[in-house]
């Protein structure tokens, strides 16, 4: 991401155009934030005025924001550290269930959500370490399979622990340790109701951030998203962020630079998981009910799709990707189906083809995402809003230009352009900077060789 990189506090005072670009991006960010804050207030008016347009409801924006947090978390694991994780939903579920256990009538524990959320984050991070520790030697496909299994196991465990009886065998006394028929997780029915976050008002009453109050809840999740985004920027621009990227690029070389690859990858897993726990804690409390089956494999895949679509490694890209994917999923398809469904169904009735008779565009959402993803892989593999290096990697931008422009570039660059280092460096004489490009060119062009 060019802009955030130039906006880095510690980067060199770049040319003026970079400053301009930074200003421009600050402006865009400000406008987007203002729009986000104003939109829920004027949404009803807009919809009433222009009812034929697909306006997203506030509840849809809440789902978008939640998935943006999930995508930012997975982006740490996949985008920064390069570890493919297909079971990311597990930490989302762990965050949500932690909230449900500690803030509902299920166990009769009612801790304030503002405290519970941090417990949920910590427990999700802990599970990130527990999953990461034994799987660190795995890479690529193997890691993907293990994490996929973990995601499914967590869901099934939460579903099945609704009716638990754990007793010692008869020859050991047969004492019942858990149960009989203990309901630990609510099983298929889930846990309902969960205490939503509340803020007491000085003049009595309170603000409740549940689905009964989507506007207030949207502001809460927006604040959480901004916090997450901010943390991601700081992590990316730190030595930890560089270590993650080094591991992604070449793990052996990273270790040879003194990076402890084990702890660095564990940190990626646990920090990524903690964001998921964050999102889970919000979702559980906002919906005031959770069900194991809603934390299925499709959620993991959707978050991966968001990251790839938005631009893997790009913070801005994955946030925009989350809003785009969930907007299409929840609003645009439903809106389009009112125009698409009737003619297709009519065609089905006329021809007697059952598939067309019961056609509903909304149910084709995953097919559509699949097609979009396939097209993206061919046309724009770096994503919609890629980081700079991904663009270069996918399209080979700048490679040849860099080599040939090398010596000319050196002449045109003013001496004091960059930070002053020791002016008479020891190797200045030994290594003339302009020779290698010359010789490379000679070697690369066959007609130059005698």
């Amino acid at each position: 991401m060019t802009t955030a990189r130039t906006a880095r506090r510690l980067s060199l005072p770049g040319p003026l155009r970079d400053l301009d670009r930074r200003r421009r991006n600050q402006l865009i960010l400000g406008v987007v934030l203002v729009l986000a804050i104003v939109y829920p207030l004027v949404y009803r008016t807009l919809e009433a005025a222009l009812p034929f347009l697909p306006w997203p409801g506030t509840a849809v924006l809440i789902v978008c924001s939640t998935f943006a947090i999930l995508a930012l978390g997975l982006n740490i694991v996949m985008g920064f550290a390069g570890l493919l994780d297909l079971g990311y939903v597990a930490f989302y579920a762990i965050g949500a269930y932690t909230t449900a256990f500690l803030a509902s009538g299920h166990f009769g524990i009612h801790i304030s959500w503002w405290i519970v959320v941090w417990i949920a984050v910590a427990i999700a991070a802990l599970w990130g370490v527990l999953l990461g520790a034994p799987t660190l030697r795995l890479r690529g496909d193997y890691l993907a399979i293990v994490t996929l299994g973990f995601g499914e196991i967590v869901r099934i465990v939460f579903r099945n622990l609704g009716d638990v009886t754990l007793a010692l065998p008869a020859f050991l006394g047969g004492a019942v340790l858990i149960g009989p028929n203990a309901n630990l997780t609510g099983g298929n029915v889930g846990i309902n109701p969960i205490d939503p976050p509340t803020i007491p008002l000085p003049w009595g009453g309170e603000i409740v951030f549940s689905n009964q109050n989507p506007v207030g809840s949207f502001y809460l999740i927006l604040a959480l998203l901004i916090l997450t985004y901010f943390i991601c920027i700081r992590l990316r621009d730190s030595k930890l962020g560089r270590a993650w990227m080094a591991i992604r690029e070449d793990e052996t070389a990273a270790a040879a630079m003194g990076i402890n690859t084990v702890t660095t990858k564990l940190l990626a897993f646990s920090l990524g998981a903690s964001f998921s726990g964050f999102a889970g804690a919000f979702t559980g409390a906002y919906q005031t009910a959770i069900f194991a089956e809603s934390f299925n494999f499709a959620v993991s895949i959707l978050v991966v799709v968001i990251i790839i679509l938005g631009g893997i490694g790009s913070l801005r890209g994955v946030v925009i990707g989350a809003f785009a994917v969930q907007y299409v999923n929840l609003t645009l398809l439903a809106w389009a189906s009112q125009y698409v469904n009737p003619p297709v169904q009519a065609l089905g009735n006329a021809t007697g083809i059952g598939l067309l008779r019961e056609f509903n565009l909304v149910t084709f959402n995953y097919l559509i995402f699949g097609i979009v993803l396939a097209v993206m892989m061919v046309r724009r593999p770096e994503g919609l809003f890629p980081v700079e290096h991904a663009k270069a990697e996918m399209h080979g931008i700048g490679v040849s230009a860099e080599v040939t422009a090398s010596s000319a570039d050196e002449l045109s660059l003013a001496e004091g352009d960059l930070v002053e280092a020791e002016p008479d460096s020891v190797a200045e004489a030994a290594l003339k900077a302009d020779t290698p490009p010359e010789t490379i060119r000679k070697r690369d062009l066959p007609e130059d060789t005698p």
Binding site: R234, T252, E388, L413, V426, I440
Partner: protein, 282 residues
Amino acid sequence: MTAPAANPATTSSGDDLLVAVDCTKRFGGLLAVSDVDFSIPRGSIASLIGPNGAGKTTFFNMITGLYVPTTGSIKFDGTELTGRKPHEVVRLGIGRTFQNIRLFGNMTAEENVLVGLHHTLKGRWWQAILRPKSIIEEEAAALDRALALLDLVGLKKRAKTLARNLPYGDQRRLEIARALATEPKLLLLDEPTAGMNPEETRQLMDFVRTLRTSLGLTILLIEHDMKVVMGISDRVTVLDHGEKISEGTPDQVRADPRVIEAYLGRGAASVAGGGAEAGAEA
């Protein structure tokens, strides 16, 4: 001269930075390195040479912690290296480059060097989020240091270029800058001149010499090309088929019939040996 003769260059001076004793590495039935004794005097430029497949890189990887020796021990500055992980070896003060360049291609030259500085930075991850003054200062100092190192290898103006977009020679130099960033006492260069023409090779060797004099580094070069190391090394060790076949000053090694045999084949020794000796005397 059938066995390496005892001479001042091979006798340990007592101040060796790295001492390897009886190092053996076996991969299943393959004996890659066999009973090698090896030491590098502090402040010297030592070279490990041998034909392709002689076990040079295996030996190198035992020093850097990628392989654990099957038997034997390697001590660095009095600390046992065997069994240590690569990142621990780096932190003890051994920096390295790779035979086939292994830069972080999608990171800029500056970022590559900053990664090399990783273990010298004290900041923890939560400090990265809160970014107190100490972290801001540390990062600013690290950036200054990275740019100074890039300047040292003549790449200051390439700081913002992605490593993968650098010309080949620049990539080699960036690798050295990145290795220097780890603040090594011993710098291991694995075939640093591979793919370079004679002029570039000469420049690089001049630069390596400068590193020793100006930074006080001890340097171990790995080469399969004898010519490269002859002019620069204080001591040359020759491996062939995993065994040390010769050790000494460049002139001694050049004159050793076993070395000539290893490089040129049996029968060449008598012909070329005389020539090499004549050259050494001249």
